[in-house]
Point group: C2
Chain length 340, copies 2
């Protein structure tokens, strides 16, 4: 296992070691019947022993498929993506595809560059999020990308397939629940409205207020909060106001620990001094004392649907019109909210 053996093994090495011509190795590789069984077995054994790998890049110039699909999500450290990605991968693996994941950092330039890289590397299909559904460059790149694409939780680009959750209905349900408990100052912590989930959540929150005849205080809507550090800071600021909110709806992905820390730091108790609804169910929400009321949707189902749509496009083409699947969101009521 010395270092010398790590040099790339070529077809010439195989031929030399098996004591045959290069053309014979090539015929064995291409399954020609003109090679005797004895020679074929010797060559195959040599290929295994030396660890020779055919250059797949050269091969894929001849064959259309790379049997590789790529998924680009905002960040690797968002647990809420994990079950989605895991289900998508399982679907692709069982169809014989390699599934690779990349992160966009929610940055337009990274998204554009990944799309280009995936195109250059000839992946067979892409599933991805978009930092900004209204950005013309991104929309153009996604619409014209060479391979089939499925958008994850994005709805504005009408010309490609998408799988999303019904965040507007979920947000409306969460907000109406808090309003029905008598809360009138409900803080909404949310991500970037340039993307579908946050935009829809603000709509749902606003609709719920309208249906209850309660005016929305714009100071209570805090957007572009994409991390726990950001939701911690904003919650702390809100709790420091003279008229502090009586309830917090932490709507973004994986942003519950920020508010929980801020409430604790302020010396308040969840479910007594302040009510909290989490926009995404998690172990943290379920195992908290008290357990946190949370919205949930089937993320594995979402990943499976996305993978199946993409597989279908890869294998049957893009003639049929774009499809969209929108999954329902439901509220799991636990012990983190009390009447105002």
């Amino acid at each position: 296992m010395g270092k010398a053996t790590k040099r790339t093994v070529t077809i010439r090495d195989v031929a030399a070691a098996a004591d045959v011509a290069v053309g014979t190795v090539s015929r064995v590789l291409n399954d020609h019947q003109s090679v005797t069984k004895q020679v074929r077995e010797r060559v195959q054994k040599t290929i295994l022993t030396l660890g020779y790998q055919r250059n797949a890049i050269a091969q894929s110039m001849r064959s259309a498929r790379t049997k590789m699909v790529a998924c680009a999500i905002r960040d690797f450290d968002i647990p809420a993506f994990a079950s989605y990605v895991k289900a998508a991968e399982a679907t692709f693996r069982s169809a014989g595809y390699t599934f690779i994941l990349a992160s966009t950092a929610n940055d337009k330039d990274v998204e554009l560059s990944l799309l280009q890289t995936f195109g250059q590397r000839r992946v067979d299909g892409v599933m991805m999020t978009m930092s900004d559904e209204t950005d013309p460059d991104l929309v153009n790149a996604i619409t014209h990308v060479a391979m089939p694409i499925v958008l994850i939780d994005r709805e504005l680009v009408q010309s490609v397939d998408s799988v999303s959750a019904d965040h507007r209905a979920g947000a409306r349900q969460a907000t109406e629940y808090l309003l029905s408990l008598g809360h009138r100052r409900i803080a909404l912590l949310v991500g970037d409205p340039k993307a579908y989930p946050s935009r829809s959540r603000i709509e749902g929150y606003t609709e719920a207020h309208r249906s209850f005849g309660v005016p929305v205080d714009p100071h209570l809507i805090r957007d572009r909060l994409l991390s726990n550090e950001a939701t911690f800071r904003e919650t702390a600021a809100l709790l420091g106001r003279s008229e502090r909110p009586t309830a917090i709806y932490a709507a973004g992905l994986d942003t519950l620990s920020g508010p929980l820390r801020a409430v604790r730091t302020a010396g308040l108790v969840v479910g007594q001094d302040i009510s909290i609804v989490s926009g995404n169910d998690s172990d943290l929400a379920e195992l908290n004392t008290p357990p946190i009321t949370a919205l949930r949707w089937d993320r594995s189902e979402m990943g499976r649907h996305a993978a199946e749509m993409l597989l279908d496009r890869i294998e049957h083409g893009r003639q049929s019109p774009p499809r969209r699947i929108r999954l329902p969101v439901s509220l799991v009521v636990r012990g983190s909210c009390r009447p105002a």
Copy 2:
């Protein structure tokens, strides 16, 4: 944005639209100075307008680098990997590399197949875990892989670089802490001893017992627990025994919620009826009531080190001897353990 525009744009389309010969487009692409500024600008504008992409697969047959590195971890849904992966990616991104992630499902065949795919796709480097450090096929494949490789938290294969945490010292510290509180029946929940982390944790646990002169009860060591479902089941079984453990050391990655649920289901209270140490710090450990005493190491640092080692190998070759970096593990004492 009709579907017809999605056909791949070829160099011929660019030449036709720019009203030049194919050779002229090629010369512009290859930065030949023989093209007039005026023509060059027209061709470049046409390339942008049509969205033409050079076939990178053909290109990479000529150039050695793909500027892509791959990382293979056990599973996408283990939050403990996230900060590692994120830090590694940041390092590669700033060096101009695309970083892709794949999951092995902790399965030897998937690991072998990914190594082959990465080789065929000509990634410039690989960082990965291994399901079994003693498996000859895996060891052989990793030792002979065509590109530089860094192992993540694996130490047995001596011929390649690795970055790991000092799990033995961590496990010893956690166990000695529980022994010093008077616990004599400490359950150890751990992963697969065929890989370095679990093997080392069992060693550390055993060493601590030896140093306290306390015999190890083999029934209290439960291994191959790689999920919260598994740790839930084993904890429930342990708590149902007539001589139940007084303390649980949940040593695996991301396996704390299992024991927490099982303790709650049994009607017991953490920190009163039973003591718990988590082998990995997390939001769940920190925000639990009571907060859970936990081991921690700098996972971002680990990802950064691995990425820097791999970058160095990619850019400066594999002549120097294999390097290993082992990071310290420390115990954060919180409120989940009490004297036995």
